[in-house]
Homo-oligomer: 356 residues x 2
């Protein structure tokens, strides 16, 4: 493997010394960028953009052309796996993702098969290879997938939401059926992430967007164990380099200790968690990624620099911090505010890394 010119992100995830705190931004290739909106318009719609490796490569690189970010993240959707399972992903105008054929009957659930990523998710794997070539070892590429539980919510409800009534009814009344879905999903996600790694993803992240909607006990039965199973099945070394794994459960601040025990390298933190006490709780076992309130990005460069400084100070000196927002960047963020954030993090963080 050719050496990465900037491996700060990978080193931070592995708790190795770095000169400054690396930063990338969840949803950094997205609607707040005018050039993204132009490419998306050319593609026709969001799903066509995801399924076209040329255009997915183009939008993945757009934020890196503007800002000196320390990582790229594959442009894709978290629902590619259920789409490949035949559930029919679509995006209604001005609404979130939906499925034409959500899981309604037991036979539909029993008939689920984990898709072969190389065959059924070729467009994602091709995008990974193509993005890697385009990045030319400048910064690492992050691959990702939705978590088994988060995928199951969409597969069962047919859409996103905040109540998950159908999913939870199944969870409490027919846990065997939900476990079956989760088990197939875990198998599918493992194969999918490994295919991304083999195609060139240099770190991977599991997005458990809806795990935080579960009770403490349900999270530990229906979300976390399946993520742990995936982490255990991932290729952790590829092309002579470690491939770190980041685990992110939005709203999972109560559960950091058990998340840190899954074998992942880093935890993503949403903005409700104090990164200082999170660090105390998990010790040196994992790195931490986060966790500026995305709403700060709607303000102005001076406020952003000041608030970013508070997050850096809360994490404090030493290794193991990757800066990010606590959730995806808002489409209403002025791009110049992102420039201000990246600058502020790079400049202010040097002081926390002097003991290298």
């Amino acid at each position: 493997m050719a050496k990465l010119r900037n491996d700060t992100f990978i080193r931070a995830l592995l708790h190795q010394p770095t000169d400054y705190t690396p930063i990338w931004i969840m949803r950094q290739a997205g609607r707040y960028l005018p050039e993204y909106n132009q490419t998306r318009a050319r593609a026709g719609d969001f799903l066509s953009l995801c399924k076209n490796p040329d255009l997915a490569t183009e939008v993945t690189l757009q934020p890196l052309a503007r800002f000196p970010l320390d990582a790229a993240i594959l442009f894709s959707d978290i629902l590619t796996i259920p789409d490949a399972m035949g559930l029919g992903l679509y995006f209604a105008p001005n609404e979130g993702p939906k499925f034409e054929r959500p899981l309604r009957e037991e036979w539909e659930i029993r008939a689920l098969i984990a898709p072969d990523p190389v065959e059924h998710l070729r467009y994602v794997i091709d995008a990974v290879s193509q993005i890697r070539r385009a990045l030319d070892n400048s910064v690492p590429l992050i691959g990702f997938s939705g978590s088994p539980f988060t995928l199951a919510c969409y597969m069962i409800e047919g859409e996103g939401g905040t109540e998950f009534a159908v999913t939870k009814k199944m969870l409490y009344q027919r846990p065997d059926l939900l476990h079956h879905i989760l088990s197939v999903n875990a198998q599918a996600v493992t194969a999918y992430l490994n295919a991304q790694i083999q195609a060139g993803a240099q770190a991977v992240m599991l997005f458990d967007t809806w795990g935080g909607a579960l009770s403490h006990h349900a999270y530990h039965e229906f979300s976390l164990p399946y993520m742990q199973q995936i982490i255990g099945g991932l290729i952790r070394r590829h092309d002579n380099a470690d491939v770190p794994v980041i685990l992110f459960t939005k709203g999972g601040g109560n559960w950091l200790e058990s998340m840190a025990a899954t074998g992942c390298d880093a935890l993503g933190l949403d903005w409700s968690t104090d990164i200082q006490s999170a660090r105390t709780r998990v010790g040196e076992r994992v790195a931490l990624q986060g966790n500026l309130d995305p709403a700060v990005m709607l303000t102005d460069p001076a406020t952003i620099a000041s608030e970013a400084g508070k997050v850096l100070a809360a994490y404090g000196s030493g290794n193991g911090h990757v800066f990010n927002l606590g959730h995806g960047i808002s489409q209403f963020t002025p791009p110049e505010n992102v420039a201000a954030l990246v600058d502020a993090v790079h400049n202010q963080s040097v002081t926390y890394h002097t003991s290298r």
Copy 2:
């Protein structure tokens, strides 16, 4: 004061011995009850129902006629205070509450005045007196208010939501303005809850529905201190009885220790928090109220009894537990499932109180 025939709820909040674990249910007077829907139809709309003390009394008592609940809660809306401030509360069909005149300009914020509850919220105070008469000392009556921050979110945004972009922009860029709103709100809520207590409310609850949307530091600057200020200003003994205070921040599981230090008697827990570890964290300082996942109520009596039993067992033996859901009951809950829950909690909990 005539003695309450059933004071189990008050005793549990005060960490005193009881024969069983008391239960009430957030939003127990609500749309899952056909009789509620009939009364609401007679009132015309939700706001007319809130503003009519006769009808508010009627719906407050409806769940008690069906189920042997251990407390009644005033039927009202959390947004009565900003309505009394002149912001113009209204409910569009099939949408949440909205304000005709949200706070947009600095002069509007500077002109805010805490309403005199006896003058401007007479309908609520009258409802409290009337409900107390109707309850005839059977079970205690809970009064309540939205928290200063939660009210501010609605006052600034003009409606509910999940992002609170305008509120947070003010929080980060003009904290002085937000502090001014919160200070007026805290004064208003204190007077409002004290008027409810003087009219007969035997316990009060602060609903901080949106505090969980804040970062750790913002919660401790913009939500918690104002609730602490209110708690410090409340009448804690009235009519020869203690008036316990319950504090509930949805999504506040990370912050239980600081919430317990506000001087409240009990913390409401949402369902994401493990009640067993919550009890360990707060010790005997406060009682705990909660925290069954409301989605369990959509299942069946056997599942409900089993899941309720897990919450009781997690809390364990001893005093200081009030059973509740972790959030308001869903409108899709079959009423017979509520009967099953109340029965299950009353019957199964006896074993945890034998050492009385």
